[in-house]
């Protein structure tokens, strides 16, 4: 089956007066239809930049400096701005973190939905409205035929995020990029929104890139997860495997550092130091200064993602592993 999205050796640089910063340095992954891929990492790892690159929203001084992005087999990273605009919304939808600023406060949500639908689908305003009401119902807004004429501020945070999801889905895209969709929401609402996202995408067969720093959300929502560090993917595989048995030392340290709700921990695992700044990346493996198992090879050469089946690790310590 063809992947919905295929990213090959993507590189994104930010040009500063001190030289080029490699925000993303050779990232590759595929997403199958209906699959939810989690992109997890700490600040500066490059996960948001990856999402922005796929949807073509990298602004200068940043630019895609290498690699390919293929949407259902078609290359989209080299498209001119006009064509990319058409793809955005129609074939790739986006959900941002803050529902307060994702919706225009001056327009009723019905207007925003109808505008987007009409922009991408050959429907007139009446048909678009019917479709919009159906969408609001699908995302769980009660009394959608009345609430379609409400303004964003008349909704609560969780409801607003549901509207944003509806907006992202209204043109029936093949892929949705969700950038920290639950971070600004209360815990009890987070669960609702995650469940909604999963269900909607299963129903429609939409693929999702779920960008977040919250491993709990990934565990609940994603099928596969890619752990990013300093602009590179260090481990990628099925969610349960990566969480229960992480192989890359950084991924392992990350899982160990997360406090548990259900079990007692004597002490949280600590990774000394901090993620290096892009202007100060070390030679060889980007993680080696903080790695307790670093060897000379790690200090000199950069490990590639060696894919053995579905679970791949970029680490010299696991080169010969059969997973």
């Amino acid at each position: 089956m063809q992947s919905v999205l295929s990213v090959r050796d993507l590189r994104v640089d930010f040009i500063t007066r001190r030289g080029a910063l490699h925000a993303i340095d050779g990232v590759s992954f595929d997403i199958a239809p209906g699959e939810i891929l989690g992109l997890v990492g700490e600040s500066g790892a490059g996960k948001s930049v990856t999402g922005s690159a796929v949807i073509g929203l990298i602004d200068p001084p940043g630019k895609i400096s290498g690699g390919e992005i293929l949407l259902n087999g078609d290359r989209i990273d080299t498209l001119p701005a006009e064509k990319m605009r058409k793809i955005r919304g129609k074939r790739i939808g986006m959900i941002f973190q803050d529902p307060l600023t994702s919706l225009n406060p001056l327009y009723r949500i019905g207007e925003q939905l109808v505008q987007t639908i009409c922009a991408h689908l050959p429907l007139d305003a009446k048909q678009a409205r019917v479709r919009a009401i159906k969408l609001l119902e699908d995302v769980g807004i009660p009394a959608p035929d009345q609430r379609i004429d409400s303004y964003p501020h008349e909704f609560s945070g969780g409801m607003r995020q549901r509207v944003v999801i509806a907006l992202a889905l209204c043109a029936e895209p093949d892929l949705v990029i969700a950038d920290e969709p639950t971070t600004a929401l209360d815990v009890s609402v987070q669960a609702q929104v995650i469940a909604l996202l999963k269900q909607i995408c299963a129903d429609r067969g939409t693929a999702v890139i779920l960008v977040t720093h919250d491993m709990g959300v990934i565990a609940e929502a994603a099928d596969r997860v890619a752990v990013m560090y300093a602009g590179r993917i260090v481990e990628i595989g099925p969610v349960a495997e990566v969480i229960r048995a992480p192989r890359h030392p950084y991924a392992a340290g990350l899982m160990g550092a997360i406090p548990s709700l259900t079990s007692d921990r004597d002490r949280l695992e600590q990774i000394e130091g901090a993620m290096p700044r892009l202007s100060n990346l070390p030679e060889g493996c980007a993680f080696h200064p903080r790695c307790t198992q670093a060897t000379d090879q790690c200090r000199q050469a950069r490990p590639d993602l060696n894919a053995n089946g579905a679970h791949a690790v970029a680490c010299f310590l696991h080169e010969g592993d059969h997973i």
Partner: protein
Amino acid sequence: MTEAYVRINDLSKDFDVSSPWLNRVVEGKEKTYLKAVDQVRFDIEKGETFALVGESGSGKSTVARMLVGLLAPTDGGATIDGISLAGGRRTAQTNTVREKLQMIFQDPYASLNARWRIKKIIAEPIVSLKLLKGRAAIDARVDELLTLVGLHPDDGSKFPHEFSGGQRQRIAIARALASNPELIVCDEPTSALDVSVQAQILNLMRDLQDQLGLTYLIISHDLAVVRYMATHTGVMYLGRIVEIGAGRDLFLNPRHPYTKMLLDAVPDMEYPGRPRTAVQGEIPSPISPPPGCTFHPRCPLANDRCRVEAPKMIENVACHAIEERRSLP
């Protein structure tokens, strides 16, 4: 029974959210108040870590600010070591209290003055409370504090923007320790930090507690962090405490329906996809909260009494259903 080290006594806070005077006169409106905190009462023992947990609008941050004197309570008060805490005014006695009480804030970027050097930031409590005399003594103490939190004395001459979020939080901790406090109130101390950095800071806080005999009041929305750090936890909903639990008990045997709902809703890394009871509704607006028990619209056990009468705290939980020994059929 010996009195607890810190007592919070029926603390309440109302915010005036009325329209401006002219609007009210013209439109004939009444004044509107937001009851952010409603008769909150709990005790903190010396050397322990008490956590206040809740979602937005729960009032937990407001309680913290009233405790340290940044906000004047509308009603009620608090005592630390028997000394009453009066908000706001600057007296000699208040200064004694100020020494004992310190705070760490959520945002590591806004909690340090961007124009000041680290040394000056950390020394401020010492200078303001006149704890040490002479440049040399103060400098030595600052160096000592920097080392205590895992930084280097040379860092004293740098500016905040030269540090990462985690390092800034360490600086904030060093500043909080400068006056040799007994109680440190931590308002979401790691919410703005990455997971691996959070682990460093939480471990540091624990180590410092062991080393210096500190007492912590931690405000957080992250239940996993609370489980790791707290000896007692108070769960807040719309300005009221609904349950107080000790250690793991709260997490293993939650009693209040809201606590149960909350724990059920947290996305869990270790048991993903477990069956959950669907969460009902969202937090209502604190300006016009539901009458009676504020949780009743979302509670599977709500009855008529819940709709009119606010439950009192009995044996550390405020719930009619528990009092009446009712449970789901």
